[in-house]
Amino acid sequence: MYSPAKAWREFPQRYRLEAERCTSCGRVSYPPRVVCPACRARAFEPVTLPRDGKVVTFTIVRVPPAGFVEAAPLPIALVELTDGTRVMVQIADVEDPAQIEIGMPVRLEFRRIRSDGEAGVILYGHKAVVKK
């Protein structure tokens, strides 16, 4: 069973894209951390990630893991948001995977990511949709 406590703990990041910015060097950490990976300082201020970005690299997963078997072909990308933060997300609403390219502008939209089977919790988050 996917722990409901674990799911709940992640809501600020999954639902609202909440991150933290180091007050010493400005590096944004998503998810938030105790120690800044850039300068090792320990003080942060809350920020929300922007929802626009572009595809840095991607793949189309044809052999998905358990829990995603029906999702193939599953496009997943590393997206760089306009503030420089990078996130890994699925690309949704893709009619033809051949259309995806490095550099494509995308926007993050609220979607259902997975569910713990038929009876478990539903996990929501964001996916990227291609901007026309």
Binding site: R16, E70, A71, A92, D93, E95, F110, R112, I122, Y124
Partner: protein, 352 residues
């Protein structure tokens, strides 16, 4: 105190299936269906879309049009649907959490067949008018299904509309002048617990249900308001197919021109709790200050909520601040085969 809509937005998924695709699988007469139901194609939710996700995006569009309302000032969120993702666990709390309105607010999930969306709007409006909350968000959203091969399979579609209500004069997009509701116990359409698909009384869903309640509610509000059809620039009715809303509108004395803008079902299908609310968003996208709008929903079981809106000056400032409804309906469509549709809608029996 003037209360009304201070933010609005709709979300329509990109996927579509055409009526012919469904008809050929079940050996139905597609041209006759097209003509009889006045339906061409309908929206289909993606594997990652449901009532909650569509509600969140529609709510975000509403906030984008609200002139900077702080989500923490939203005192109530109501999500009306007949396809809530959980049987027990509210959709409204997920939406409220996602838009940042928690924790000081009232949340309820509503259901009343296709009327659950306007129910949320009805309650939101009343709560703000009573001075209980500063802003209230009423959302109608559905991803309902029709049984394979049943008439409803041609129309059951997916979409959401969200309306933020408030009493700030300078934020009003459309003031609520009157509300009215007409309700009886009429079992025209139902779904028992644990059943996958709803059942309906076939032709009984027409005159005794849809037409009787819609007409009574629309007539009732116009009487209450001392208004007549020609006073309105737009009228929006619940749209279970293309035919019914046109018929009831013309019967009531409205013209095609008044009905067309809010009439989306021929290309959208029936988005159930989202139906007339999405129609309202399409109207607001093009409405001009001073125009009067009539909205009458219908939910099986049965009941009809009516609203008379007067469009405010602010409308032209906000229309472009979030995705409009008609482009979401007409552009960027992804067409599905019946096989893809059946897979997406969970109609194929998978391995345990």
């Amino acid at each position: 105190m003037r209360v009304g809509i201070v933010g609005y937005g709709a979300f329509i998924p990109r996927r579509r299936i055409q009526l012919e695709e469904i008809a050929k699988v079940w050996g139905a007469d597609a041209p006759a269906y097209r003509k009889g139901l006045q339906l061409n194609e309908k929206s289909v939710p993606g594997p990652d879309e449901d009532t909650v996700t569509m509600s969140v995006e529609a709510a975000r569009h509403a906030l984008a049009r609200s002139g900077g309302i702080d989500p923490k000032d939203i005192g109530a969120v109501y999500v009306g649907s007949e396809s809530h993702p959980y049987a027990v666990k509210p959709s409204g709390t997920i939406v409220a959490e996602a838009i940042g309105a928690t924790p000081e607010l009232h949340v309820a999930d509503l259901e009343f067949a296709c009327k659950a969306g306007t129910e949320g709007m009805f309650l939101s409006q009343a709560l703000v008018k009573a001075g209980e909350v500063k802003y209230a968000l009423g959302i109608g959203a559905d991803t309902s299904q029709g049984a394979p091969g049943d008439a409803l399979e041609y129309s059951a579609a997916a979409g959401a509309a969200a309306f933020l209500f408030g009493a700030d004069e300078e934020k009003l997009i459309a003031e609520v002048l009157h509300t009215y509701s007409w309700t009886t116990d009429t079992p025209d359409f139902w779904r028992r617990e644990y059943m996958h698909y709803p059942r309906h009384g076939s032709r009984f869903t027409g005159e005794p249900a849809y037409f009787r309640h819609t007409k009574s509610s629309a007539t009732g509000i116009m009487e209450k308001a001392g208004m007549k059809p020609s006073d309105f620039a737009f009228a929006i009715f619940h749209q279970p197919n293309g035919k019914f809303p046109m018929r009831v509108g013309l019967d009531l004395g409205f013209t095609k021109a008044q009905l067309e803008t809010g009439w989306l079902s021929p290309w959208l299908g029936n988005t159930y709790s989202g139906a007339s609310p999405i129609g309202l968003t399409a109207v607001l996208d093009v409405a001009k200050p001073g125009e009067l709008v009539l909205l009458t929903s219908f939910g099986s079981g049965a009941g009809s909520d009516s609203f008379v809106f007067r469009v405010s000056d602010r409308v032209s400032e906000v229309q472009g601040l979030a995705p409009k409804t008609r482009p979401q309906l007409d552009e960027n469509k992804i067409y599905l085969s019946y096989g893809q549709y059946a897979k997406l809608r969970g109609k194929i029996r998978m391995a345990e």
